[in-house]
Amino acid sequence: MFTYTLRRLAFAVPTVLVISLIVFLMLDMAPGDPTGSLPLTIPLEVREQIRQALGLGDPVLVRYFKWLHMMVIIEPSHMLANATGWNIAIEGPRILSWQTRSPVGDIIVQRIPQTLWVVGLGYLFGILIAVPIGVISAYKQYSWFDQTGTFISMVGFSVPTFFTGVVFILIFSVWLGWFPSMYDTTHRVRDWDSFLFQVRQIAMPVAVLALFNASQISRFMRASMLDNLNQDYVRTARAKGLMERTVLLVHVLRNSMIPVVTVIAIGIPTVFTGAIITEQIFRVNGLGDALIRAIYVSDWPMVQTITFIFAILIVLFNLIADVLYGILDPRIRYE
């Protein structure tokens, strides 16, 4: 298992390097002086800082390594220091956002919690709903439960989140007035009432994402369960006289979870990127919102950084999926 993990890791590192090079070149290859297109309102000294940060004048490779150093060492150290309060920030030139002129790491650290809460809860609830639905649907194939589930997940999966989002706002905020339509990021939970408010304002974006994710995952779960229910080992389990519950929830589920867990892990980063739209609709100022704004005002360092973060997440969760696969499937683990 250890060598298996190492081998996967050995694949992941060059992948990340190649991605970083592409992301770096994205800006570097752009014609002209990148600071030339900066708004004129930027003071000269800031302009100079930016030039230094970009390392203009050095050969490409040198500029790349300087940038990489900032991107994977300095900024993350500041982000960690910010998030934890530990004194671990590494001094050095920072990647500055052209729009706000503060380091990108500082902005991103402020944005991550909102995204994590909304997206994370949306995914978590999606999984919690999807697994039992998938299991029951498969076990009672073609029952009314299965048919209803299939229909709802078809709808949930094929209707884009921006549409469900708007429909939810229309029904639950405008008509019924149950939930606020906008997410107030400045809201702090202090007592019971403010906690309830937080629950109410997070409910709709989470529900929209949970519905979408549950639709997808429950289909996977169902298909995987059906695959396994027809396997010979299920008949063996029944021939042993095991309780139907044990056959289903121990023997079949344990096997069915292998591909589903992998899909769930691989899906996590796409959920981040996919949630960009949901964040826009509910005005959650998370990472996706930061990315959209940065694109509008051509704040390339910000775009680069968030793109890079998403890319890293994809590689990371692919790695995690591989490792989980190895943990869950002894045939892989012992190869």
Binding site: D232, R235, T236, G241
Partner: protein
């Protein structure tokens, strides 16, 4: 095999139907047989003749729907397995009746250790705690001839060869000392040399443990080597049944006679010879009102299409379902 001893298993008029979209399939039609303590009953018949469905019907292993056991009695001791319900059957399966399936490569759960899978029926039926079940599992692995049993408990199925996996399956089936072991083509998926080893193993286990065995196979050579009695199935019915020597020496049913002709010498390498008989297996769309073998039978005559022949006794414990008398060559 003491004659006259009370049978462990007494099956009467078993009828199993599959309800499919395309209509009903009458897979098993009025099958009756008995199994006496400690005896080995061989079951032969071509593919689709209803061997597996018959045996799985006994202990409720068929998926329902589409399967429906429509008629019959299955007495295991004093319990009627068709009346005790799903919970009752669950208590019987793996305890009083052990089952070994054809394909050892897929019959074990790939994500659990072999030890776990052997211990499961012990904990379920015998109420053993982990430690005791473990001890028993080691004994069982040793019993079926797996070396280094203690250590191998922790291994997963894919770490065993096909023959070793079938030994594990046998260990699972025997875990709770069943009265009846049903082996459904346990060696078909294995190499010839491994086949012989498994057959020797079961022979030995039978002497040691004394359970009754039902052995389904396509291989008449195996039947000749290990069975006490043989039951020949055709089209979901029992065509002929009797003591092995008697049936092999005086086959009465035209199907059995054709089968035996396709087996040249017992010691030659065997292939799947039951398929060599000319013609198609019968359609099983309705309860048969004629002899299912008549389309392929060289002795068929007018009555065979009119009436399904009942089983009639032609010797001590030897019966045949046919309107034709093999001794006279005339209709009975």
């Amino acid at each position: 095999m003491p004659d006259g001893a009370l049978p462990v298993l007494d099956v009467r008029n078993l009828k199993t139907v599959f309800r499919t979209r395309a209509g009903e399939i009458h897979a098993v039609n009025s099958v009756s047989f008995q199994l006496r303590p400690g005896e080995l009953l061989g079951v032969v018949g071509e593919s689709g003749s209803g061997k597996s469905v018959t045996m799985m019907s006994l202990i409720g292993l068929l998926p329902s729907p589409p399967a429906e056991v429509r008629d019959g009695n299955v007495m295991l001791g004093d319990k009627d397995l068709l009346k005790i319900g799903e919970d009752g059957l669950r208590a019987i399966r793996g305890r009083d009746v052990g089952f070994v399936f054809q394909d050892p490569m897929t019959s074990l759960n790939p994500v659990f250790t072999v030890g776990f899978q052997i211990m499961e029926p012990l904990r379920r039926h015998m109420g053993m705690d982990k430690a005791r079940a473990r001890k028993r599992a080691v004994e069982l692995l040793e019993l079926v001839g797996i070396p280094d049993a203690e250590r191998r408990l922790k291994d997963f199925p894919h770490q065993f060869s096909g023959g070793m996996r079938q030994r594990v399956m046998i260990a699972i089936a025997l875990a709770c000392d069943p009265k009846v072991l049903i082996a459904d083509e346990p060696t078909t998926a294995l190499d010839v040399t491994i086949q012989a080893q498994i057959i020797e193993l079961v022979k030995g286990l039978r002497e040691k443990l004394g359970m009754a065995i039902i052995w389904i196979t396509h291989d008449l050579g195996v039947i000749a080597g290990i069975a006490d009695r043989v039951m020949v199935m055709y089209g979901g019915q029992v065509a002929e049944h009797g003591p092995v020597r008697e049936v092999f020496a005086n086959p009465a049913h035209p199907y059995t006679r054709a089968l035996l002709k396709t087996v040249p010498k017992l010691r030659e390498p065997r292939a799947d010879k039951l398929r060599v008989i000319e013609g198609q297996p019968p359609m099983l769309g309705a309860h048969p009102t004629a002899c299912p073998f008549r389309a392929r039978c060289e002795h068929a005559f007018e009555r065979c299409a009119r009436e399904n022949p009942p089983r009639r006794e032609i010797g001590a414990g030897h019966d045949v379902a046919c309107w034709w008398d093999h001794r006279t060559g005339e209709p009975v």
